[in-house]
């Protein structure tokens, strides 16, 4: 600028030269910088501020231009140059201002890019760290799985623990790993397993040390001092810097801990202590993931131990059961021997005891017939009385034991009920009259004369019940009522366990004995039927008897499918004994009064079939006559036909049975069967059709079944066979 004021100054040409040169270089630089920028930006892939670059480039170029034009202004220059110079300067000014303004916006952005870059770098470092962590955790997990697998693959307690220690030692590169188990007393911990020492012996540590309590108090692994008693497992040499020690509790779970609603974490009481030591002088530290590994392993060990414990328990239980089995077997065999011995004894005694008794009784009664002085007579009477009592006692005891066994069986026969009761009355009247008691017997109008049952035992029951009534009454009257029990009255709500089932062939006899005696208090009633239990009332203490009577009665009544019970309103109010027994109905045999041998409850075959209308089809006159005779003998009404047509003509719903001889020559008898069946639309109307044949082969039978016949009879037919067949047919409507 100084140049414009003084263009002719020839002074400092040197200065001007330098300025000239500097301006030239500046211009050069200014032109080359944008070029370089453009070159490098083109080379780089990412540059967000192109617009800025353009601006900047323009600024620089213009600056360069200015300086370049400056070159011409050192010497005299024309007005054009001046104008150009001015224009260039103006432009430059404009652009530089614009650029300056722009930079205010740009530079903060650029700076923030930098910070972002820093931030990302930090983030990357962090992620790297985390990656490292995850990797280590995964490693740990793998180790844990492997360890668990090793531990859980065995059910032997020692193997489990040993393996745990070995594996842990290996995984974590431990110097020492030890397990302290609680002793039986629970007051000390004993070193049970150790990694380096093969047979650790003798180390015990009291369980209530603070460090131990600290470890037991949490389920985490706890760092403990290497100087604590549990950690001092190796002799310390002077220069060792012991490695860090960690201890963790191992819960010892019992079988009883495993209840569904009661998870074991709160209910274990016993722990073992696992101590792990890092190698000394290694400057290693326990990392978090290693601690976690240790905790998980401790848990797994607990589980594995409990499994082992369960196994041990179950083995023990099984052994125990086997022992018990053997013992029970032995006991059973002994019991059987005892029962056999008793039965033998009874069998022998039965005979052995009764024989002398009978002898005594018989001879004493004979003796009574002879001439005796009064004293002698008294003595003989006493002997008689005592011996009959004894005989009764013996009989009762023997009966009872047989009843209990279930080996007693009733002697079923036809009996005359009226005479049974009359006999009872005869026996009891003398005794009652001595005590001035009145006995009344009431038999219902429909009282059956005959029945089927065990006469002797029935009388025994009635005598016993009536006798009790007499025994325990000092005055008044005894009334005996006997009737046939009606079905509705049988179902007594008071005796819900008694289910009488009246049937066609039996009825229930109900006998009630009321007395006005001393009565029984309600709490004594259940004891009445128990063996040897007597009513302890002092007045009756010496009334004799063994207390067996009612027990035996009850058992006999039960054998007769009945029920016995006693009611009393209380002491002094008398009592009522009632029993119901099942007796059979004797069957009639023509008009003979002679009673039949009764029949057991099993299948009863009808002996005659009066009024049974039978149609007999047989073309052989002889066999027709024979079969007809057979049927007539059994009481049937027989119509005979000798041909198919006749059969179809004659058959009607009156006929209950059609017997077809299969030898109807030339004609398929099966055909007739089908035709007969077709005649009757309703199944119950049609008669039963039975084939009579000499063929025993299955084919015939099958054919008969196929055409819908109801049975096959194989010739020759005896009377009994025909009787059974007819009976079956009528009962079941089918014979097959």
């Amino acid at each position: 600028m100084e140049c414009c004021f003084d263009p002719q100054w020839p002074a400092d040409e040197l200065l001007m030269k330098y300025q000239y040169i500097s301006d030239f270089f500046i211009a050069l630089a200014y032109f080359s910088i944008p070029l370089e920028l453009i070159y490098f930006v083109k080379k780089s892939a990412v540059f967000p501020y192109r617009w800025v670059l353009v601006q900047f480039g323009a600024f620089i170029v213009l600056c360069g231009a200015t300086h370049l034009i400056n070159l011409w202004t050192f010497t005299t220059h024309t007005r054009t140059v001046a104008i150009v110079m001015t224009t260039a300067k103006v432009f430059t000014a404009a652009v530089s201002c614009a650029t300056a303004l722009m930079l205010v916006h740009i530079i903060p952005d650029l700076l923030s890019v930098k910070t972002r870059e820093l931030f990302l770098k930090n983030k990357a470092a962090e992620l790297d760290r985390e990656m490292g962590l995850i990797r280590t955790q995964e490693e740990t997990g793998r180790h844990v799985r492997m360890l668990t697998h090793e531990i859980r693959s065995t059910l032997d307690r020692h193997t489990i623990l040993k393996t745990t220690l070995v594996e842990l030692g290996r995984t974590l590169a431990l110097e020492e790993c030890a397990l302290w188990m609680p002793t039986r007393t629970g007051l000390e911990l004993q070193l049970s397993y150790s990694l380096r020492q093969q047979n650790p012996v003798g180390y015990t540590v009291p369980i209530h040390l603070p460090v131990i309590n600290q470890v037991f108090g949490t389920s985490r692994a706890v760092k403990i001092s290497p100087n604590s008693p549990v950690a001092r497992l190796r002799p310390l040499a002077g220069k060792y810097m012991p490695g860090e020690v960690v201890a963790v509790r191992v819960p010892l779970l019992h079988l009883s801990n495993f209840r569904i609603n009661d998870w074991p974490e709160l209910s274990t009481k016993r722990y073992a202590l696992m101590v792990l030591m890092l190698p000394s002088d290694s400057a290693r530290q326990w990392h978090v993931h290693e601690l976690e590994l240790v905790e998980v392993v401790a848990d797994q060990v607990a589980v594995a131990l409990s499994h082992a414990a369960i196994l041990e328990e179950s083995m023990r239980a099984r052994d125990l059961l086997m022992e018990q089995n053997v013992a029970l077997d032995l006991a059973r065999r002994e019991a059987e021997t005892a029962i056999r011995a008793r039965n033998d004894f009874l069998a022998v005694m039965n005979h052995e005891m009764r024989t002398p008794m009978h002898a005594i009784i018989a001879l004493s009664s004979l003796l009574q017939e002879t001439e005796l002085t009064p004293e002698q007579r008294l003595m003989v009477e006493t002997i008689m009385k005592s011996s009959s009592l004894l005989a009764t006692l013996i009989n009762d005891v023997l009966d009872l034991s047989r009843l209990e066994d279930g080996s007693l069986q009733l002697d079923i026969g036809t009996l005359n009920l009226r005479s049974v009761f009359n006999e009872v009355m005869c026996l009891i009247k003398p005794v009652a009259s001595v005590k001035k008691l009145n006995i009344v017997l009431n038999l219902a109008e429909d009282f059956p004369e005959y029945a089927v049952g065990d006469e002797k035992r029935l009388m025994q029951i009635i005598l016993n019940v009536v006798g009790n009534g007499v025994k325990f009454s000092k005055e008044g009257s005894i009334s005996i009522t006997a009737s046939v029990a009606k079905a509705e009255l049988l179902r007594d709500t008071r005796t819900p366990e008694f289910f009488p089932v009246p049937g066609d062939n039996n009825f229930y006899l109900r006998v009630q004995v009321k007395d006005t005696g001393s009565g029984i208090s309600p709490q004594d009633i259940p004891k009445l039927f128990t063996k040897f239990a007597q009513n302890q009332s002092p007045a009756l203490k010496n009334s004799g008897g063994s207390g067996l009577g009612l027990a035996i009665c009850k058992r006999f009544v039960n054998l007769m499918d009945g029920h016995i019970w006693i009611e009393s309103e209380g002491l002094g109010k008398g009592c009522t004994a009632t029993f119901i027994v099942k007796l059979g109905i004797p069957e009639k045999m023509g008009d003979t009064k002679f009673p039949l041998i009764g029949q057991s409850a099993a299948k009863r075959v009808q002996t005659s079939f009066p009024g049974l209308k039978v149609l007999l089809v047989d073309d052989n006159s002889v066999s027709r006559a024979v079969t007809k005779g057979l049927l007539l003998h059994l009481g049937c009404e027989v119509t005979t036909v000798s041909s198919r047509e006749e059969c179809l003509r004659v058959v009607s719903e009156d006929h209950r049975l059609v017997i077809m001889d299969m030898c109807v020559s030339g004609v398929d008898s099966y055909d007739i069967a089908v035709q007969v069946q077709d005649r009757f639309t309703k199944r119950y109307e049609r008669p039963l059709i039975v084939a009579l044949t000499g063929n025993t082969d299955k084919l015939t039978k099958e054919n008969c079944m196929r055409v819908g016949m109801d049975g096959v009879i194989v010739k020759p037919v005896s009377i009994d066979k025909m009787r059974t067949v007819l009976s079956d047919l009528l009962e079941h409507r089918v014979l097959f």
Binding site: D619, N620, S621, V622, S623, A625, V626, T627, G629, L630, L632, H633, C663, S665, G666, G694, K715, P716, V717, S718, I719
Partner: protein
């Protein structure tokens, strides 16, 4: 003869018939069927048997001399005869009927004729015996008892 002796003779004779196989269990059954409702049951049935058998035997003889023997018919007749004899317990007759039937099945005319002879023979034997039996029984019924 008095009743006791007659009875003894009758039972001996009956026993003999059973022993020799002329009669079997079925005959006993027949006897059991005879009661006061049916006093002549056995006689009636046996008479029926005789009548029936004679008819059948004649029929058989006629059929077997035909030039073309109708074995079916022959078989049917023999079957009938077998049935009748078994119904009254004529054991030997029944047995001979069985062998007759076998010949029939074989369509052996010669055999059939021979069997027919046999059956005839047995029949006449049993007829004889039964008639004797019945006459003994009649005597017993008529005899004076002690």
């Amino acid at each position: 003869m008095d009743a006791l002796q007659l009875r003894k003779q009758l039972s001996n004779y009956t026993a003999q018939l059973f022993d020799e196989g002329f009669l079997d269990e079925q005959f006993t059954q027949l006897q059991q069927l005879q009661d006061e409702n049916n006093p002549n049951f056995v006689v009636e049935v046996v008479t029926l048997f005789f009548q029936d058998s004679e008819r059948l035997l004649d029929e058989l003889a006629k059929s077997l001399v035909q030039p073309e023997v109708d074995f079916k018919k022959v078989d049917a007749h023999v079957h009938q005869l077998k049935g009748s004899s078994s119904s009254i317990g004529a054991h030997r007759v029944q047995r001979s009927c069985i062998s007759f039937r076998n010949c029939c099945n074989d369509r052996n005319v010669e055999g059939c004729l021979k069997s027919l002879q046999e059956v005839r023979h047995e029949y006449s034997l049993i007829k004889d015996k039964l008639e004797t039996l019945f006459s003994l029984e009649q005597q017993l019924l008529g005899a004076p008892s002690e």
